[in-house]
Each structure stands twice: as structure tokens, then as C-alpha cells.
């Protein structure tokens, strides 16, 4: 790939201070390889003479944009060449031992995703709704955001929370039941955190009081919640669904003016109360974890519990509180599965979202805003798969179903780089 080295004898350099670490070419090579594959598959081998159509506005928008079409082959080629150029930039910067900014992977990702979309929807009559794609991404990201925030609240204090899955499921269950019984979706929204907090309480009780391995407790709690909710579902909920399992949905609240902004308006400001709560929780936690007294103590307990103890901070009490709070946050996220859309509770309906949330927390480097971004990425991958299976692309649906998880693995393994979890994570504190 690179030019052969002609100046080999010139390596008689002074011995000291010239030794540099070997350059890691992984990233630029991966960028280039993927862009080349895209260029060939989406562009050169792509369907000739077809067009790809994208919709921008939803039917309720104030300003309507007509869907636009682009020639599929040409657009895909241009986009992939753009990505290839970015791979070149990456080569250049790696060679100069500079670190490319975060803009590079993001721009690259956007280009490649569009190239893929252009190819996937080529020649279809129906337009691919871009706004719908984003709106759906945010929607699917909701449980991941809450789950990831729950994870980081616990892990920042030193407790590993594998039980997010169970907390989501418990929240979904209790939200559905309470909302049905009271006839109010908002009552369900209030009940959901209680269920999550209870699971969190069990987790922290076993972790702190009985010093059980936190990962094992978490996994066991997940199984326990699945068992309990499935049992109640089969015996009580199924027998009389109208009394127990027919929750009303949260109404969509459009924020005046803001919701009329093209594209982002309907995405961000035509949502249910749960989404607005999510915005608030992310912002509040971002500030509180890093700027407040509470956050400083929380992080000190997760980084160096003995140091916290020696300045009079009650380590285990702090951990207990933050884990219960984290459980409550995850429980609230569980409401997404039932009352947010007015859906009935179903067995194991969280479907592994709690684990993806854990991945979002890691990818987001244990910070609320990072967790939000990571959750949105996963939500997008998930929604892309849904949208494309609707408009019937050439790819088998099973492969499309895998995309969110493949994205997760690559994201957690490669994109994050070296991350540093809280130092005392998972280590019980005993004097």
C-alpha cells in the first residue's frame, strides 16, 4: 500500500531519543478497507440507472419539503470516495503521529451510512423517511439512555450493575399493571421507578452486606425478575388482561413553536413526557455528577473508597443510595416498553436492552452525555434495521437484525479506545 522504502541505509540515526513507539495502522486500514468495499458493492456493482428517494417532512409539519431523489450509483460512488478521502486523512495523521479529532469517525460514519442507504433504497418507489428514521432512533434509544444512566450511577459509586435488564423489565411490568389499574399512564410512570429501585436495593444489599460477587448477583437478579414477571404474567395478567394488562399510553405532547422546526422539531419536541423527563435527567446528571458535592463524593467512593472514608464519607451508604437511585432510573426507562406506547406487558419484552445499555454506558465513557450519544447510535442502528426491512432491501432480514449488535461490539471494542472505568468498580469496601 505504501511506497517501498528506498532509503534503508539512512537509518544510521543517533541512538538516543529517536526511538518512537510503533505506529498503529489499525484505524486507517479499517477505514480504507470498509470504504473500498463500500465503493465496490454500493457504487461500482450497484444498480445502474436507478434513483434513491428520501423523505424529509412528516405530514404534520408546518413547512413541507418534497422528497428528493438522487441517482443511486453516482451518489454512492461519491459518498464512498469521500469516505476514502477521510481514510487518507487518517493515514496522513497517523503517519504524523497526530490524533485525528472525533469529527473524523463521525463524518466517516455518516458518509458510509448514507452510501449504504442510497444503495439499499435504490429503485424503491416509496421514499425512505429521514425524519422518521431519526424520530424512531430517539424512540428506540429511550430505554438505552435510562439504562446507561442507571449503569453509570451505580458504577461511578463502585457497584457493577448488570441487573439493568431486570430493572427495565420490572419497571415495564409495574408500569403496565399500575397504569391499567388506575387508568392513568402517568401513575404507571410513577410506579416504574419503584420496581427498578427494588431490584437495585436487592443488588446493593447482596453486594455490600453479603459481599457477593456483583456480576453474579446482577445476573441472578435478571433471571429472578424474568421469572417473577413471567409467572405473574401467565397466572394473573393473562387471565384477566382488561383488569391487569391494558395500560393507556402516554399522550404525545408537542411543544409549541419548537416542534415546528423542520426535521429536528418533530424529532425532539413532539414526544411523550417520558422523553422530556429523559432530557432533564441527562442534563441534571451531567451537571450533578461532575460539578456537585454529591457527584464528587459519588465518584470518590467509586475511585478510592478508602480515601473517601478517611474524610468522613460513608462509603457503603453512598453506594447504597446511588445504586437504588440508579435502579429507579432504569425502572423509569422500563416504562418505555409499556405505558410510553400504550402496549401490554409481554414476557421478557425488554429483550436484552439492559445489556445494550451497559455497552452504551461503556461507549459513553461513564458520562451522561456520552451515554446519550452512544444510546442514540445504537437506537439508530436498531431503527435502520426496522425501516429497511419495511421497504424490503436486498439484505436478508436476519442479517439486518444483527446490525445493532454488530455495531455494539465494534463500538465497544474499537471506537472507545482506551477507557478507564472507575478504579474501585466491583470491589467491595470492607475495613
Amino acid at each position: 500500500m505504501s511506497a517501498p522504502t528506498i532509503d534503508a541505509p539512512a537509518s544510521a540515526r543517533p541512538a538516543s531519543a529517536q526511538v518512537l513507539p510503533p505506529i498503529r495502522w489499525h484505524a486507517p486500514i479499517a477505514y480504507a478497507a470498509v470504504a473500498l468495499v463500500g465503493l465496490v458493492v454500493f457504487g461500482l456493482l450497484g444498480p445502474s440507472g436507478e434513483t434513491s428517494t428520501f423523505g424529509i417532512s412528516t405530514s404534520r409539519d408546518f413547512i413541507q419539503f418534497t422528497p428528493f431523489s438522487v441517482p443511486s450509483k453516482l451518489t454512492a460512488i461519491v459518498l464512498c470516495l469521500g469516505a476514502l478521502a477521510l481514510a487518507g486523512v487518517s493515514f496522513y495523521e497517523t503517519r504524523r503521529r497526530e490524533k485525528a479529532g472525533v469529527w473524523l469517525p463521525i463524518t466517516y460514519g455518516v458518509l458510509m451510512v448514507f452510501a449504504f442507504l442510497v444503495w439499499a433504497v435504490a429503485g424503491k418507489d416509496s421514499a425512505l423517511p429521514l425524519t422518521g428514521l431519526l424520530q424512531g432512533s430517539l424512540f428506540l434509544a429511550i430505554p438505552l439512555v435510562f439504562g446507561a444512566l442507571a449503569g453509570l450511577l451505580c458504577e461511578r459509586s463502585g457497584i457493577i450493575n448488570i441487573a439493568i435488564e431486570g430493572q427495565l423489565l420490572g419497571g415495564a411490568f409495574l408500569a403496565a399493571v399500575v397504569a391499567t389499574l388506575t387508568g392513568s399512564a402517568y401513575a404507571g410512570l410513577i410506579a416504574a421507578p419503584v420496581a427498578g429501585a427494588l431490584v437495585g436495593l436487592l443488588l446493593v444489599l447482596f453486594s455490600i452486606k453479603y459481599v457477593v460477587n456483583q456480576i453474579i448477583v446482577g445476573v441472578v437478579l435478571n433471571v429472578l425478575v424474568i421469572g417473577v414477571t413471567s409467572y405473574l404474567f401467565s397466572t394473573v395478567l393473562k387471565a384477566n388482561p382488561d383488569t391487569w394488562n391494558n395500560p393507556p399510553g402516554l399522550p404525545v405532547i408537542s411543544i409549541p413553536v419548537l416542534s415546528q422546526i423542520p426535521i429536528i422539531g418533530p424529532v425532539l419536541f413532539r414526544q411523550t413526557a417520558l422523553v422530556y423527563i429523559m432530557y432533564v435527567v441527562v442534563i441534571v446528571l451531567q451537571i450533578m455528577v461532575f460539578r456537585s458535592r454529591w457527584g464528587l463524593r459519588l465518584r470518590s467512593v467509586g475511585e478510592h473508597p478508602k480515601a473517601a472514608d478517611t474524610v468522613g464519607i460513608k462509603v457503603n451508604r453512598t453506594r447504597l443510595r446511588s445504586t437504588v437511585l440508579g435502579g429507579a432510573v432504569a425502572g423509569l426507562g422500563g416504562a418505555f416498553f409499556t405505558v410510553a406506547a400504550g402496549l401490554a406487558f409481554g414476557k421478557e419484552m425488554t429483550n436484552g436492552k439492559g445489556y445494550i445499555a451497559l455497552a452504551a454506558m461503556i461507549l459513553g465513557r461513564w458520562s451522561p452525555k456520552g451515554a446519550l450519544a452512544a444510546a442514540l447510535l445504537f437506537g439508530f442502528a436498531n431503527n435502520l434495521q426496522l425501516q429497511l426491512s419495511i421497504i424490503q432491501t436486498p439484505i436478508p432480514s436476519q442479517i439486518m437484525l444483527m446490525t445493532p449488535y454488530i455495531v455494539t461490539i465494534f463500538a465497544v471494542a474499537g471506537l472507545v479506545g482506551r477507557v478507564r472505568p472507575p478504579a474501585a468498580e466491583g470491589i467491595p469496601y470492607t475495613k
Partner: protein, 550 residues
């Protein structure tokens, strides 16, 4: 403030760590608590600081009995502590660490950072500490971290300051500065409890000395007592402070390290173009403040880390790039710096620990099976030879004291014919008896003709053992000097000062400990002048960064 401990008793299972200890700290005095490692000093201070609840006895502050449920209570009573292992969160800033637990806040519980910085600046300026409130702890050298700990205690209005082995991590010059700070604190009315096992520092700074041995107060002494008196009080018998050893007879050079460079994942040069030789029958000590590349150096030789450049040869055979098993097989014996985690497997029996690296060879293995009889026989022999005090060879290694664990490690490493012995911090945290034993065995190994590399952050140990001293600073070797080089010169080099400058500066400004050295040497031979450089120092030296503090 007057502080009094009466009849403090603290037991851990069968072990009596503190046995009816009485101690009075008068206002504005520096009270030294002298005792060996494991004598119960730290336990006592943790009781005083509220980390442990005593089984018996009481604490009086200004003659009023108090009870401390936790460190918070102790701090509220005006007691501050600087722990041996710093209680600082590495990823927090100085200001965040200082205010942690009593944070100034503005509305909604947000931390008032300007106020936090001001608190740091105020104390830092008062004592001339030059600490940046916004620096992250993990980026600071240990000496500065210690000042942060002192600021932390003082910002909580501590009237009694407990310093637990504060000089263990410092160079002689830093120790001197610390002694200055202690005197300054005393002037301003703060009482200091100074916990240590180092006799010289005690004599230099203490107003009163209480000696503890095996959990009991064995007496008090005046700073005017001689080191020998203090030592025999501390150990309970007369001790010879020096290591009894003959002059080294270096043979051929069999270990060659050339242009070794290690760069860690974060891009930091942990070892920077290091070259040196070790000859048969020679002890080379690598001195330096913790974290200047010594750990990486030993791990590269053993094959635990890969260098980006350079070579290590033993008897002409390249070791870099070979597996740890190959390196051990080539005759390298390795005593790791952290014996309890890297030296022994705590939940294995002593007998098993003694064959960790030999289990696949005759006579301990036959085919895929171990031969328990041979393992036991070996254990019985080694235990007798290395004087490991234990009830049974089947006891877990975790039941042994630090000194006996180290003997197990040494017994294992020395049970093979060695071509090179590397010992990292061989006596850290050991009692005097064990130190004597370990030193004697190391010297014996040298006299058998084995090249020996010792890594130690303790200058006392370096001076006691080394035939030649390499001083490491920020991954480079800043000096290659003969054993017995002046302590002050070594201390300056440990702070990055090149040899020539170090010799000059040491002559201009003696530290308290350096003076004590000269006095100790005085009765016999005249004080050795700072040793001149012998071998030309490796091509490193000329420009050393970061000397502005000196």
C-alpha cells in the same frame, strides 16, 4: 491541643496488634512513634483516627474522653492524618481532593471551585508549597502528593497531625524539606505524631520518642539517644546496622542491557534508552523514587513487558522477545516488588508456593502428575534452610507474615542455579530480623558469583547492599556511581540532577540525614567525600528537564 491515649488494645483474631498502649502528645510537640514494621504503629494511629474501634482503652482530647465512630469524628476533634499510602483520588484535582468531604457549595449543591482553590492557595502559600490547585493528582510526583495530603489535613483545622511513615517515598532533600515543614507546623502550634522506623529522622526532628515493640510500649527516649540505643530498644536486642559483607570481586560481565526503551500505552517513555552492564559477583542497585521506570525495567528483563527497542543479553543470549518461562529457564531469579500479590499465591500452601516455577520439572512432576511427596520434601528442606516461621508447610501463604512470605519467595527463586538474580524492593515492609536475613542471602548469592540487580527506593538499603549504584529518573539512568556514594548526591540524582551538579550542590548544602551519615562515619574513617564518578556515565546525562524546583 493535648492528646492522650490510655490503655489502647486492639486485636485481630489471635494477633494482638496493640496491647495496652499509653501515649501522651503535648501541644506543639513533635512526638515520634518509633517501631519496626509490624510493631503496631499504624494500627494505633488508625484507632486514633477512628478507622478502627479499639477493644479496650480510651482517647482523651484536652483531658476529656472522646469516642470516634469514624474518621469524620476524629477530624472534627482536630486530628488530621497523612497516610503512608496517600488517600488521594488520582483522577481528581488537588482542589477537589482537598475539599472532599467538606466541600464549599453554592446553590443546588454545586461545588464552589474558586473557594476550593482559595483554600488550597492559602495553605500552600503559607508554607511555601507551590501546589497548583488544578493539577490532577496522578500527574504529580509523590513528594507533592504528600504536600497535598498535608494541605488536606490543615484545611480541616487539624491541631494534631499524624504522619505515617512520611519519608518512605522521599529523597533525602525532600525529607529535609518535610522536616522543615514539620518544624514550621510546630511553631504554629500544631502537634505532630511522627510514625517511623527510621532512626536518623527521629533523632533529627523529634522532641520526644516513644518506642513500640510487638504491640507494646517498651519505653520512651530522648532525641539525644544514639542510634544504637534506639535500634536495640526497637528490636529488643542489639543489632548491627550495617550488612556484614566482604568487598565484591566482580568477574566477567554477563548481563548487558543496551538502548532499552519502553513506551507505555499512554505514550509515556517509561524507560528511555537505558544501557548498563552487570558483572558476575556484583550487586548493582537501581535507586530512584518510585515510578521512574524501575518496575518496567525489571519486567522487561523478565519478559513480562515488551520494549519498543533495545536488547537484554544474559551470557550472550538475547532475552528480549522470549517468554517468561524461557527467561526463568535461562537462569533468571526474580523477586517481585509486591510479594503478597506477585510473589506468592495467597491461597496456595507454602509447599506449593515453593515450586511455582518448577512444578513441571523433575523431581516434582512425573508426566502430567505432580509428585506430592517430592513437593513436601522440598518444602521441608527449604523452610529449614530459609528459616521460614510457620506451623506447617500446608498452611496457606496468606497466613505468613511479610518477612516469612519474602523468605518463601527467596527460597523458591534461589532453589535453582541462577545466572542472574533480580530483587525488587526485597525488604519493603519487613522487620529488622528479616531484613538482616534477606540481605545476608543476597550477599551470599553474589559471593557465589551470581550477578545481582537490586531495585530499591530505600537509600538505606541501596547503601547497605550495592557495589555499584545506578540512579533512575524518568526512565533514564542519570548516574552510574560506586557503592557508598554520598547520600545527598544520590538524593539529588534521584530528583534528576546530573552527577556533577549533584556533587557540587551536595557539598554546598548538606541535608540533615547526610550530616547524620557523616557523623556516623566520623568515629572510624574520616567522612568519605562525595565519590567521584568512575565509569563515564552512559551517553544520556547532558540535559535534564524539570530542575527548576531545585
Amino acid at each position: 491541643m493535648k492528646l492522650e491515649l490510655q490503655g489502647i488494645t486492639k486485636t485481630f483474631g489471635p494477633l494482638v496488634a496493640n496491647d495496652h498502649i499509653d501515649l501522651v502528645v503535648e501541644p506543639g510537640e513533635i512526638h515520634a512513634l518509633l517501631g519496626e514494621n509490624g510493631a503496631g504503629k499504624s494500627t494505633l494511629m488508625n484507632v486514633l483516627y477512628g478507622l478502627y474501634v479499639p477493644d479496650e482503652g480510651r482517647i482523651l482530647v484536652d483531658d476529656a474522653p472522646v469516642t470516634f465512630a469514624g474518621p469524620g469524628d476524629a477530624m472534627a476533634a482536630g486530628i488530621g492524618m497523612v497516610h503512608q499510602h496517600f488517600m488521594l483520588v488520582p483522577v481528581f484535582t488537588v482542589a477537589e481532593n482537598v475539599v472532599l468531604g467538606h466541600e464549599p457549595v453554592r446553590g443546588a449543591g454545586l461545588i464552589d471551585l474558586p473557594e476550593a482553590r482559595r483554600r488550597v492557595k492559602e495553605i500552600s502559600d503559607r508554607f511555601g508549597f507551590h501546589v497548583d490547585p488544578d493539577a490532577y493528582i496522578e500527574d504529580l510526583p509523590v513528594g507533592v502528593q504528600q504536600r497535598v495530603e498535608i494541605i488536606k489535613a490543615l484545611s480541616r483545622q487539624a491541631e494534631v497531625l499524624i504522619l505515617d511513615e512520611p519519608t518512605a517515598v522521599l529523597t533525602p532533600q525532600e525529607t529535609d524539606e518535610l522536616i522543615g515543614i514539620m518544624r514550621q507546623l510546630k511553631e504554629s502550634g500544631t502537634s505532630i505524631v511522627f510514625i517511623t522506623h527510621k532512626l536518623r529522622e527521629v533523632r533529627a526532628v523529634a522532641d520526644r520518642i516513644t518506642v513500640i515493640r510487638r504491640g507494646k510500649v517498651v519505653g520512651t527516649a530522648q532525641p539525644s539517644s544514639t542510634e544504637t540505643e534506639l535500634a536495640s530498644m526497637m528490636v529488643g536486642r542489639s543489632v548491627d546496622l550495617g550488612v556484614d559483607r566482604s568487598v565484591a570481586v566482580p568477574g566477567e560481565v554477563t548481563v548487558q542491557v543496551r538502548n532499552l526503551t519502553v513506551i507505555d500505552q499512554a505514550g509515556v517513555r517509561q524507560i528511555d534508552d537505558v544501557s548498563f552492564d552487570v558483572a558476575r559477583g556484583e550487586i548493582v542497585a537501581i535507586a530512584g523514587v518510585q515510578g521512574n521506570g524501575q518496575t518496567e525495567l525489571t519486567e522487561v528483563v523478565l519478559g513480562l513487558q515488551a520494549p519498543v527497542a533495545g536488547s537484554v543479553t544474559l551470557d550472550g543470549v538475547e532475552l528480549v522477545g522470549r517468554s517468561v518461562r524461557d527467561v526463568l529457564h535461562a537462569g533468571v531469579g526474580f523477586v517481585p516488588e509486591d510479594r503478597s500479590t506477585d510473589g506468592v499465591i495467597a491461597d496456595f500452601s507454602i509447599a506449593e508456593n515453593l515450586i511455582l516455577d518448577l512444578h513441571r520439572y523433575e523431581p516434582f512432576a512425573r508426566g502430567v502428575a505432580l509428585r506430592p511427596a517430592a513437593v513436601r520434601e522440598n518444602a521441608e528442606k527449604r523452610i529449614a534452610e530459609f528459616d521460614v516461621r510457620t506451623g506447617s508447610i500446608d498452611a496457606h501463604a496468606s497466613t505468613l507474615s511479610g518477612g516469612n512470605q519474602q523468605k518463601v519467595v527467596l527460597a523458591r527463586e534461589m532453589s535453582r542455579p541462577l545466572r542472574l538474580l533480580i530483587a525488587s524492593q526485597p525488604t519493603r515492609g519487613l522487620d529488622v530480623g528479616s531484613i538482616e536475613f534477606v540481605h545476608t542471602r543476597i550477599v551470599q548469592e553474589r559471593d557465589n558469583g551470581t550477578p545481582v540487580i537490586i531495585v530499591s527506593t530505600e537509600l538505606d538499603e541501596v547503601l547497605a547492599l550495592a557495589d555499584r549504584i545506578l540512579v533512575m529518573y524518568r526512565g533514564r539512568i542519570v548516574g552510574d556511581v560506586p557503592g557508598g556514594t554520598d547520600r545527598d548526591v544520590l538524593g539529588l540524582m534521584m530528583a534528576g540532577v546530573p552527577l556533577d551538579d549533584a556533587v557540587r550542590q551536595a557539598a554546598e548544602h548538606r541535608t540533615t540525614l547526610g550530616v547524620a551519615d557523616l557523623e556516623a562515619a566520623a568515629p572510624g574513617a574520616p567522612p568519605a567525600p562525595p565519590a567521584p564518578p568512575t565509569a563515564p556515565t552512559s551517553p544520556t546525562a547532558p540535559t535534564m528537564p524539570d530542575q527548576e524546583e531545585l
